[in-house]
Symmetry: C2
Subunit: 327 residues, 2 copies
């Protein structure tokens, strides 16, 4: 009988997440499956900033939440024979006993594209970027789009989709290497928010203000952007990485006067609420990649045992593009 | 030749607005009108909290912005003969020389209703309440609506429209007399935010949270409400009276985590942007008043020379319902 491993929380995070908050647990892999059930083994696992936020409600002792791509290793389900590759949200687990196959995601058509993309460009981050721009912001050609956390998994794709849609795209990231990469991706303007004044940078390249803002970070950058949004500007809150590790109330600037006098709209958006539409976005993203219009970068960490390190890298600015763990 | 008076700002407000910030100016009433022009004399003038905000961009020396209902006293325009009653946004002026009659608002059908209502229930505040609930929040029967600044011109109407739409309505106001009035208006729950804990009050009467929030005040009350909004909750920022008199940056709570994880939508709304639709709301409000479904209160100050006092009363909590000045 083999062993399954999973990562759980020793306790809910207090402030900055740290390695000692995580605990690796072993259990037996079940063998006597019932009809319809299967067991799969993780191939790639996703680590994403949102997991920091969701962990506040996670139950200590249960696996940390998250998506993975896995291969079926045991099956009593004809639809998923041994060897099938599936995508599921079973958390930070090396093996998963799937009792209800309706919890398995539909896999996108990958063609020649790498399997890990089902957790990135064609997974949660990619779909977040796609539906934010097309469904929530309804971005229009000629508008100015600003993306914070622009070198991350969602931000780097949101900016590129903005370019495909015919927008002027401004990105903020935290290192010069990331800024250089954003320019290679076709961002019209990219700045290092750690070394350049956010407000003055926007004033220089978008003196008439910003139509749309994809906010990954919250805090001071968002404060500066909101002050520079145009009348009827639209802002989507997709993340708030600058505030996740505060153990106190995560408050930040809330510019009532700006929201009111400029008739702004601010929307929080969670892609898991519209999973039934993902196939539309996945198909489009695959086409854009094949046409050379969309580029991506993955930061791959080897080894299931290094999941906590890969996750913590998201908050220290080490990560560019999508962070994935190869099991 | 008669004299026209208007109120202007001695300087833009610094912090709390005060009487000495205003200055009364006299000028001649023009006599030799050109074809198409007219002169009118104010009958009722509106004072509203938004004027505090807009004054930051007002030009010192020009009349303070605002609406009025006026009677035509001289005319070279056949459409508006002497004696006609018109509504216009010419600011805090006793007389207005109208050179372009396209700037005159269409007057609603009043029937037997008092003329001052064209500045209240059937004017800016009433239309704000109506279109906020029907067009922006798109409020649905059975939802829970929370209104801050609920005893004011907009809030008292928004709460009553919520009741007409079949919602549970919670109001916050700043005196026990106002709270009593809100209950007379049919609010399901009303609280004095100065003497009761906002968060605990909401928890008690709406343990499942709030669907919709009409925010007039910003600041600490909004912080407590946002924390208690339901998933996909909708919030409209209509005012921010708690922050207007801050001379520093008007920052307040901005709950990134709440906006994100609950997929909230926050929209700033200015009714002047959809003036072409007012006639729909005005007709409906008149019907509701006649049917006894909608009640209103006016705080009328007598005398054009007392406009600054009437305006300052909006910020000291003295005002209930719509504040109007009878010239």
């Amino acid at each position: 009988m083999g062993k399954c491993k999973f990562w759980t929380l020793r306790s809910n995070f207090q402030g900055q997440a740290k390695l000692s908050d995580f605990q690796l647990v072993e259990e037996d892999i079940p063998t006597n499956l019932k009809d319809g059930e299967l067991v799969c083994e993780a191939l790639y696992l996703s680590v994403d900033p949102y997991m920091r936020l969701f962990s506040d409600w996670s139950e200590v002792g249960k696996p940390v939440v998250g998506e993975q791509v896995a291969r079926v290793t045991d099956s009593k389900n004809a639809k998923y024979p041994v060897g099938s590759v599936i995508r599921l949200s079973s958390g930070w687990r090396s093996h998963t006993h799937v009792k209800d196959v309706s919890t398995i995601d539909v896999m996108p058509e990958l063609g020649d594209l790498p399997l890990s993309l089902t957790l990135g460009v064609m997974g949660m981050p990619g779909m977040t970027a796609y539906f934010t721009l097309l469904d929530v912001l309804k971005i229009k050609k000629g508008e100015t789009l600003l993306v914070s956390g622009a070198a991350g998994a969602v931000g780097s794709l949101a900016g590129q989709i903005g370019k495909i849609m015919g927008c002027t795209v401004i990105g903020f990231a935290g290192t010069n290497a990331k800024v250089k990469w954003l320019k290679e991706l076709g961002f019209d303007h990219a700045f290092n928010y750690k070394t350049e004044d956010v407000g003055k940078s926007i004033d220089r390249v978008a003196p008439d203000g910003v139509h749309c803002y994809c906010d990954m970070v919250g805090g001071e950058i968002s404060f500066q952007v909101i002050k520079r949004m145009r009348d009827h500007g639209r802002m989507v809150v997709l993340g708030s990485i600058s505030t996740y590790n505060n153990s106190t109330e995560t408050t930040g600037p809330y510019l009532f006067s700006d929201i009111l006098t400029k008739s702004l709209t601010i929307t929080g958006f969670i892609i898991f609420n519209i999973r039934e539409k993902w196939h539309i976005g996945e198909k489009q993203m695959a086409e854009w990649i094949k046409e050379g219009k969309l580029k991506y970068k993955e930061t791959i960490t080897n080894g299931f045992e290094h999941m906590p390190e890969a996750f913590l890298g998201l908050f220290s600015g080490e990560n560019t593009g999508k962070a994935v763990v190869k099991a």
